[in-house]
Symmetry: C7
Subunit: 288 residues, 7 copies
Amino acid sequence: MAGDGLALYESVTAWLSIDGIWGQIGESVLRIVAILIAGPIVIWIANKMIDRVILNQAAKRMPNQSRRMTTVGKLIKNVFSYVGYFITLMIILSEFGIELAPLLAGAGVIGLAIGFGAQSLVKDIIAGFFIILEDQFAVDDIIQTGQFKGKVEVVGLRTTRILSWTGEVHIIPNGMINEVTNFSVNNSVAVVDVAISYEEDVERATSIIRDAMGRLEDPNLVKEPEVLGVQQIGASNVLIRVTAECLPHTHFAVARSMNLLIKKTMDEHGIDIPYPRMVTYHRAEGGT
Amino acid sequence: MAGDGLALYESVTAWLSIDGIWGQIGESVLRIVAILIAGPIVIWIANKMIDRVILNQAAKRMPNQSRRMTTVGKLIKNVFSYVGYFITLMIILSEFGIELAPLLAGAGVIGLAIGFGAQSLVKDIIAGFFIILEDQFAVDDIIQTGQFKGKVEVVGLRTTRILSWTGEVHIIPNGMINEVTNFSVNNSVAVVDVAISYEEDVERATSIIRDAMGRLEDPNLVKEPEVLGVQQIGASNVLIRVTAECLPHTHFAVARSMNLLIKKTMDEHGIDIPYPRMVTYHRAEGGT
Amino acid sequence: MAGDGLALYESVTAWLSIDGIWGQIGESVLRIVAILIAGPIVIWIANKMIDRVILNQAAKRMPNQSRRMTTVGKLIKNVFSYVGYFITLMIILSEFGIELAPLLAGAGVIGLAIGFGAQSLVKDIIAGFFIILEDQFAVDDIIQTGQFKGKVEVVGLRTTRILSWTGEVHIIPNGMINEVTNFSVNNSVAVVDVAISYEEDVERATSIIRDAMGRLEDPNLVKEPEVLGVQQIGASNVLIRVTAECLPHTHFAVARSMNLLIKKTMDEHGIDIPYPRMVTYHRAEGGT
Amino acid sequence: MAGDGLALYESVTAWLSIDGIWGQIGESVLRIVAILIAGPIVIWIANKMIDRVILNQAAKRMPNQSRRMTTVGKLIKNVFSYVGYFITLMIILSEFGIELAPLLAGAGVIGLAIGFGAQSLVKDIIAGFFIILEDQFAVDDIIQTGQFKGKVEVVGLRTTRILSWTGEVHIIPNGMINEVTNFSVNNSVAVVDVAISYEEDVERATSIIRDAMGRLEDPNLVKEPEVLGVQQIGASNVLIRVTAECLPHTHFAVARSMNLLIKKTMDEHGIDIPYPRMVTYHRAEGGT
Amino acid sequence: MAGDGLALYESVTAWLSIDGIWGQIGESVLRIVAILIAGPIVIWIANKMIDRVILNQAAKRMPNQSRRMTTVGKLIKNVFSYVGYFITLMIILSEFGIELAPLLAGAGVIGLAIGFGAQSLVKDIIAGFFIILEDQFAVDDIIQTGQFKGKVEVVGLRTTRILSWTGEVHIIPNGMINEVTNFSVNNSVAVVDVAISYEEDVERATSIIRDAMGRLEDPNLVKEPEVLGVQQIGASNVLIRVTAECLPHTHFAVARSMNLLIKKTMDEHGIDIPYPRMVTYHRAEGGT
Amino acid sequence: MAGDGLALYESVTAWLSIDGIWGQIGESVLRIVAILIAGPIVIWIANKMIDRVILNQAAKRMPNQSRRMTTVGKLIKNVFSYVGYFITLMIILSEFGIELAPLLAGAGVIGLAIGFGAQSLVKDIIAGFFIILEDQFAVDDIIQTGQFKGKVEVVGLRTTRILSWTGEVHIIPNGMINEVTNFSVNNSVAVVDVAISYEEDVERATSIIRDAMGRLEDPNLVKEPEVLGVQQIGASNVLIRVTAECLPHTHFAVARSMNLLIKKTMDEHGIDIPYPRMVTYHRAEGGT
Amino acid sequence: MAGDGLALYESVTAWLSIDGIWGQIGESVLRIVAILIAGPIVIWIANKMIDRVILNQAAKRMPNQSRRMTTVGKLIKNVFSYVGYFITLMIILSEFGIELAPLLAGAGVIGLAIGFGAQSLVKDIIAGFFIILEDQFAVDDIIQTGQFKGKVEVVGLRTTRILSWTGEVHIIPNGMINEVTNFSVNNSVAVVDVAISYEEDVERATSIIRDAMGRLEDPNLVKEPEVLGVQQIGASNVLIRVTAECLPHTHFAVARSMNLLIKKTMDEHGIDIPYPRMVTYHRAEGGT
């Protein structure tokens, strides 16, 4: 009977190929689990080290470089995590017996399709490097690209994250960031067009506005506001343009201060803000 | 006659090639039917296992990772079903004697056309992996891409499904998801512009609105609302901007609460919401 | 007489040049006519079998799969007719002595042009398979892609046919169906914005509308409608938003029921729907 | 002197290469003229035969296929004339000693440029075949593609001609016909939105319109018109939607009949069609 | 001393390579000048011959082909001048020792760039040939392509010239002429929408307009105008559509005649053309 | 000590590699400086010669060709300066030991990228040559391409410079100049639409305008203006169209003369220019 | 003691595993640190030299070239820093054992993807060189490209930086700068359209405006302003166009001076600026 059992076991193991294929599978599973545990730990340690070395030490010791250091530090963490995930994936796939290298080296139809399909990936990475290299913008800058505007959170290897002032996160591939407007490099200019009616004396209104602007107090103001003159003679009003140079991207707040002061000043001096106007000719039905 | 029958049978089987081509066809049909039955069962079992291991166990034990685990789990099920369908198709085609491998390896006109035609497929898959890798969004996030906005249902290998709040399902290839706006990561900001008339005292109105906003109660509110100031002096009103930080993507509900409270407060204090205005000059026909 | 017949036959065949070039042409013509007759019959039989097997039998026995079965059945018929037409064309062309295979295998200028020109064909077919595989939509679903909306008639190998509600048939290549919105998967939400005047008590109006909505009867309604609140304070009215979950793509009908009920309720309670408003300042010509 | 003359003649002919190059030119001119005369005749005969065989005979005997037969017949004539012109051109060019074949076979810069430049030509031809194969539309159908709408005149190998109802001929390359809307396959639906004033009783107006629609007589009408209900509560009116199923692409005519009947009915019942409305608040200048 | 002079001369000529490089340059200059003089003369003679043979003779003898003959004649002149300029350029460049052929045959980077850059040139030429071959339009036709409309002046090998009615010449590459609308092939239809007021009896107005249209006299009119019916019930008027078939592209002139006649007829019958209308509710400030 | 000095010198020169690398650098610097001085001088001389030969001499002797001669002359100067800069750059780079030729000949990744990147450069040059060859426009012509309109300053090898009438210089790559509108070839047509009121007698107004137009005096006028008729019956006026053929691109000035004359004539004859009109129905609040 | 030192050295090197893998790493780290320190210093020195040589010396000695010298100087600094960063990166990567050269030379899938992805980089660089070569614009010019307008800060190898007048920095890849408008080359023209009412005498108004314009004083004015005439007869006014040539890009300021002067002059002469006008027909409800 032992012989029978042995024979049965052998036939089963033969069928299951125990010590053969199943043993290999067991080893593979162990290796994969080990990698899945080890991978994140390595990435976590690397991130800590980057934080400590670049973001804390280097940024502190070179304060005039700190804006760029922060950006580069976040990028390196981002690159590092890609490399980590990529190596982990390669190892797991090789455990399954799938090798990507020859696939990428081949130049058949699949290679062609991958080459075409991956071009925007390459374009993103190239664009990302140039954003850092040319210092187009750094973390915490307020930028606009296309219709997306907000504060830069991370400049990654492939995408940039922008936080809008209403809380949304915009995630934009670097290759799509063709034309960037950076609001954080120079002082901004707040522009307010004041409407006065045709009946008003333009020069008197201009001097009143100029006096009021001289009294404007705003922590963001860099220079005293300037009254440029009669910007436009519109359909029912005359527009007088006022500008004020202020700290980077504070022009909305400064324009609000200007609006409030102009409204109060014009009320005090009895200058009307003109409503839309129309001349109507009443005509009786029948007679002309 | 038996000979005749036999001869007839032989001639028929000879014509039908029984034991030859027909036998092979029979075997093929059996194999195909077996595959068509076995394939879905294997996929079903695999899906169950993924559900149990990743979605239930892993997600529970690593609650801080559960958002991403759910996304990855659904993606793996999606990838698994593709692989299953693909292998099933390959086996069936090989039963018909059609081998795809040499077709794909060849570099003639067909290969060229396939290579070009398949590039957007490759682009979709690459984009899909990066959505997961970069954690651009996860299942249950509310995102907007292009003109499509809604809650993410599944991030698949090739397409992402978004459920709009009015019930439609948007199915978008990952390669078309270039610029994503994610509403579920940060707190949102509700923005309400209150219109008051020119005759109103702006500072009084501002302080009344500020008082009212201090009384606003909404479960989604994170911070007390803020009255920013005179946003714009418009054609027939003065706009005062009020903002309120609230939980992610609750700004529509919070703005509704704010609208109701502002309407009630302004009614109580007798502050008119200004209608559009116009100054009309009546002129008699004939005389000027 | 046999000799006469033979002579006649010989003279006819001599005139027809049988055994020479004309004989070959005659044979070719016969073969082409045979193919032109046989081809459609084969396709017709195949279509019947597909109808009987897949559309009737399989769909009935697996009712939970019937939606997809119908789609796949129509697709198979579509693919079958392409293959039929293609083989017929190949045979006829080869009778004329034109072989397409070497033309397609060659990599000269013509091959290049064909490869480029055919890429959108390949893209369409790939996209078509993924529509089925990912179950993006099935026959009888109501979908929208780009500016085309309607009920899906057929998902073909290369094109999808959509029937708009006003009767037009839209025929769209699968490769152009990038972003699909499917209205038939989930319940829809009917959205109605009710305008009330500024003078109206918003909370009273809201409760009246809420009461009325509780009495709404519509076979498509899934849940009792919900009054969300003050959506917007507009130029001459206050908008109160009401939503109602209903069966897939019945929101137009439900919104009509809601419109009617709201109009009646507001008439009963004497709540005006506000017309556009304007404040006019009459000013005499001459004096200011 | 004769010798001199002969010598002169010989030197001249030697210079002119008479009997040599000029003789060849003469032959070439003769051949070209012959081709220019013979070519159009062959094409004319072929066209006549196609007319007689396909358009007259085949179309008559298979009336249910006649719509498609006409389309295919015109296409074959179109293809035939291309082939004719192409062969004529080839022969003439070869008389000038220009051979196109090696140029097309070469893979240098010129080949590359031609390959790229010709891709839209190939795309047009492929698209043309699929229009016929998929029966997207046939001659005399009314279709719309992009901004061009009209009756199909010819579906050619490369372009489709559409005749607009105001007489213009639109000529569109088949490759540009991506998304087609065919108005001639199904019944159309005429849609009329009737505006009634807020003061009107909606249910009374609806029943009057429904009664009137029951009396509508139009040869194109397929079903009795349907009154759907209150489509929208607009700024100064209530819109009631009426639809009527009618013969393919007769909805403009049917909508005109409906407009006339609705106008008459509403006049009879004294239901006003509301003009735009506005509430005006007159305010004296100076006092508030 | 002579020896010295000779030596000097020899050294100079040796330095200048007289009899060598300078003699060649002299010859080259002579040849180039000869070509620059001969080239235009040859082109001029060729143009004259084409004018005489095709445009005058052929066009006269085949009057039904004259429209196309003119187009082809102008094209041949255009092609001829290109060939002339090209050969002239080739000869001059070869005098400078620059040979284009090997440059074009090479497949390096420059060849690649040229191949890509020249593809739109090839596309233009292919499109040009098909415009003639398919008889899309001919010289003197009025066409519209994209936003450019006017009378065709020349269909060239690469570009088409269109003369707008206000005098501008539009020059459009043939490859950009994708979708053409040709106004000169069929009769045009003039469309006039007559507005009548709501108070007017629609059927009476219709019959008055129909009577007036019956009296319309215009040399371009092909058929008596048709009154289609009530096209639309607008915000403050009822639109009655009138159409008139007329000679190709005379619909603007015919519509002007119709406008004048309708205005006079409606004045005679006292039918008002309605001005925009509005119902105003005057409301006193303060009370409701 | 001399030995010491010598030794020191030798050690220094040995360290500096004088007579070796530094000597070569010295020579290179001298050569580069020589080229930087000689290059601009050669280009300057060449430009002077082109000015003298083509622009002055040739243009004078062939006055009917002077428009094109100027264009070609400027182009040759432009080409010449490119060639000059290119050769200068090549020589300097070769002094640094950088050779571009093998880089361009190689077909690796860099070559591919350059080939793709340079295609728009090649396209610009091809387009530039065709602008001259086809005489699309010449220097001093007024053209419009896309949204850019102005007088042509230079047609260069790669770009065209256009001077707008308000002083801006538009620099446009030739490859972007797809569709050109040339205003300087033909006479222009000034178009003025005169609005008269409904109450006015259309035929009387037409004849008064026609009389006035007969008296129009403008140096740019080519033909007497033409009164086309009733262009449109608008919402509150009847538009009568007047056109006047005038010298190329003088239609703005001529239209201004026409406007002034029409205004004066209509004032004299007491024909009102109608203001926008509206019929208002006053309705009391409360009653219907 | 020497032995002790030696022993210490040995123990340290032993700990550092010098002579083994750790020694190599140590050396690598040292080299990388050295490069990271040396690289920026070299770039800093080079920048200083460029400043001194080109920007200060060369620009001063050739004042007529200074505009271009500044641009070229900034470009060279930009190129230099790219080369510096590139070499630094190459050295660091080679320390890690990564060599880019073979990767770029290979023509597999990766090479293909890089070649496609890098094409826009190459295009940017080519475009950048042509901007300088063709002197399209220089540093401090005011230009507009697409929707971006401002003063040029730097023309870099790959991107151009533009400073808008409101303080934002626009960073635009050179390859995107297709069509440039340069405002700094020629004088600008300020254009003001003065509206007068229909009742006004046009010729009197024109002469008053002309007189006033003759008195205009503005430092930027180049020529006396010109009154062109009646530009348009609008819906409720007559527009008289006035233009004034002024220094480059000062037209906004000059137009403001003109606006102010025109407003004052028209007030003095009692010429009204017309408000929008409308004729209203009052009609009683009920009667017609």
